[in-house]
């Protein structure tokens, strides 16, 4: 570990490389995080299967390359497929646990997570998969910093999705209904909003967001049936830090997480990168709880 830090000091451009990589993936984290925040804010469900939706989105895009289609098509296709899946999952399962104890919904979505992991494993096998996007690399600073073009595309794509989402929430009837329900479900119901359908739409949109993100992930990075949980945890951490309603904060937190994770992965060694993510989760929760404890309140 000390050697790695020494390397950073000796070659500061390495820091630029790491930060850049981190920020680029951070935007994708932010998209998944905002979806989780939506579901959490609107129906008070913490969606543990979030990461598996991302992976599934990636596998769908991957599958398209197996059919000799352009994986970029995977972005809208995965979004659509996941949207439908999300609605289905809502009506089959989520809707039955929405009004129950949050632990029940946690356990239910965790069960779904396990189910989906195994399904993806059965369908696509347990190898790491990527999709060739056909893009190449940019070289900066005299070949010392590499920027994979598909990562830039993924970054821009993520930001565009975020923008679309904001417009959707602000300008469309459904978007406004979602926001109203998030603020006060009972009032929304009284005003004639069909909260059940709003919940379904929200959950579907969340799944779609994850699907699109996943399609970018498989092109710019990789997917595997069992590496969904880290994405769930990343989303959760971002939401905890940024709060439920705040998209700019979510983006910032996402970028920050991406950057810190990439740096930690370099300094500690890539085999500890996932450990870092989960340790960070515990640290954030303990810290948050301690801060609240000062005021004699608790993370409930």
């Amino acid at each position: 570990m000390a050697d790695n830090i020494q390397l950073l000091i000796d070659a500061p451009l390495l820091i630029v490389q790491l930060l850049l990589d981190g920020i680029l993936i951070g935007a994708i984290f932010a998209v998944a995080a905002y979806g989780m925040a939506l579901v959490w804010g609107v129906m008070n469900v913490i969606n543990i299967v979030q990461g598996e939706y991302v992976m599934l989105g990636g596998f769908i895009a991957y599958q398209m390359t197996l059919w000799n289609l352009n994986p970029f098509l995977g972005v809208p296709v995965a979004a659509l497929v996941l949207f439908v899946l999300g609605i289905g999952v809502y009506y089959a399962i989520i809707r039955r646990v929405v009004d129950k104890d949050m632990f029940i919904s946690l356990l239910a979505t965790f069960g779904l997570s396990i189910l989906m992991q195994q399904l993806m494993n059965q369908i696509w096998g347990s190898q790491v998969r990527t999709a060739q996007s056909g893009l190449s690399t940019w070289f900066l600073f005299d070949y010392q910093v590499t920027v994979s073009q598909v990562k830039i595309v993924a970054f821009v794509g993520a930001l565009l999705i975020g923008l679309l989402l904001i417009l959707f929430l602000k300008r469309t009837r459904l978007g406004q209904a979602i926001r109203a329900t998030a603020q006060n479900p009972r009032a929304a119901r009284v005003l004639g909003i069909d909260t059940d359908r709003v919940f379904a739409a929200t959950y579907g949109i969340n799944a779609a967001l994850c699907g699109a993100a996943g399609a970018f992930v498989v092109m710019a990075y990789s997917v595997h049936p069992y590496t969904g949980l880290p994405y769930t945890v990343r989303s959760f951490m971002i939401v905890i830090v940024a709060g439920l309603g705040n998209l700019p904060a979510v983006i910032l937190a996402g970028l920050g997480l991406g950057a810190s994770e990439t740096m930690a992965g370099f300094i500690l060694g890539v085999q500890f990168q996932v450990a870092f993510v989960f340790c960070l989760l515990v640290v954030i929760l303990v810290f948050r709880n301690t801060m609240l404890g000062r005021k004699r309140r608790y993370l409930k």
Partner: protein, 321 residues
């Protein structure tokens, strides 16, 4: 069911359990694992169903026990059984210490935050262990070969784990009748109220977790020898399998009861073994489906359902003075 009937039932089960490895000698490994599952469920329920703190991270203590025992057996140079029992004991003690430390950090969180934090702990432990060379990193460790005929190996573990289960069961039967048991239930039902009545909630929660940790550490110390290998993600800190099953089994049987976790463990384990035999690759998919089904449609579990149906049998009746 009153105390006497419960004692009779327990004795019947004990006798059956003692005879079982001879009645079904081909299934000795599965029988041994059955008692491991019972231990998983019972220990989870101490903090989970009884105290209301649903932990996804109890595997941490199990894995600690497994690794501690494997290291002792690798490095101590002692004979098989001495090293094994020493390893188990050490595993239990380290697990207790870790529970005290972790408890001070995460037991102050409530509800789902606690659950997620413990989930993080469980997986962090797996990932950290997978990077630590001293304990074999990603390849894990192996445990020594059992001295004696292979048939006897599983026989030994059948009785070892059954014995441990019996001890824990009796301990919990006693514990849940003390004021401590009442205090834990009070914390579960309304922690704010418990605090307002003067209960030392922090102390009791931590103590509950430490009790669970101790027995999980002991169990883990021996399971490593049963399985012959210690893998950070798949056997020791198996969050997505053992970690979830612990919760599931207790819920299935009825959490917060003495017999519920035992019942749930038996049903779950038997079902799982049947699925494995018949579905092979898809057994994990089926398991995922079962988890969702139980949580969504049957969260009160068998005993919980029975209690709603026949409350008088559980003593909930109007009784004139």
């Amino acid at each position: 069911m009153n105390g006497r009937k419960q004692t009779v039932l327990a004795l019947v089960i004990a006798v059956t359990a003692l005879a079982l490895p001879f009645l079904a000698p081909d299934y000795r490994a599965q029988i041994a694992l059955l008692w491991v599952m019972v231990l998983f469920a019972m220990t989870w329920d101490i903090l989970g169903g009884q105290t209301g703190y649903n932990s996804f991270g109890n595997v941490v203590f199990f894995g600690i026990g497994m690794y501690a025992s494997a290291v002792v057996q690798r490095d101590s140079g002692l004979s098989y059984f001495v090293a094994l029992f020493l390893g188990m004991g050490l595993g239990g003690l380290i697990a207790v210490a870790v529970a005290a430390v972790l408890g001070s950090m995460v037991l102050r969180m409530r509800g789902h935050y606690f659950a997620i934090a413990t989930l993080g702990l469980g997986i962090a432990a797996a990932e950290l262990a997978a990077g630590w060379d001293y304990i074999g990193a990603g390849s894990g460790m192996t445990t020594p070969l059992f001295p004696g005929a292979p048939g006897n190996q599983y026989l030994f573990f059948c009785y070892l784990f059954f014995g441990l289960s019996a001890v824990v069961f009796c301990l919990l039967a006693w514990l849940y009748r003390t004021r401590f048991g009442l205090a834990l239930n009070a914390i579960r039902d309304n922690e704010d109220k418990a605090e307002a009545m003067g209960l030392r909630t922090g102390l009791y929660k931590t103590a509950a977790w430490m009790i669970a940790a101790f027995f999980l550490g002991l169990t883990g110390g021996a399971v490593g020898n049963l399985l012959r290998f210690v893998d950070p993600r798949d056997t020791a800190f198996a969050g997505a399998t053992y970690g979830v099953w612990m919760v599931l089994m207790a819920i299935l049987g009825g959490k917060g009861t003495l017999w519920g976790p035992v019942l749930g463990a038996v049903i779950f384990h038997v079902t799982q073994e049947l699925l494995w035999t018949h579905l092979l690759g898809w057994q994990r998919v089926a398991l995922g489906l079962i988890i969702v089904a139980i949580v969504v449609f049957f969260p009160q579990g068998l005993l919980g359902w029975a209690r709603e149906r026949w409350p008088e049998r559980f003593g909930h009746k109007v009784e004139a003075s």
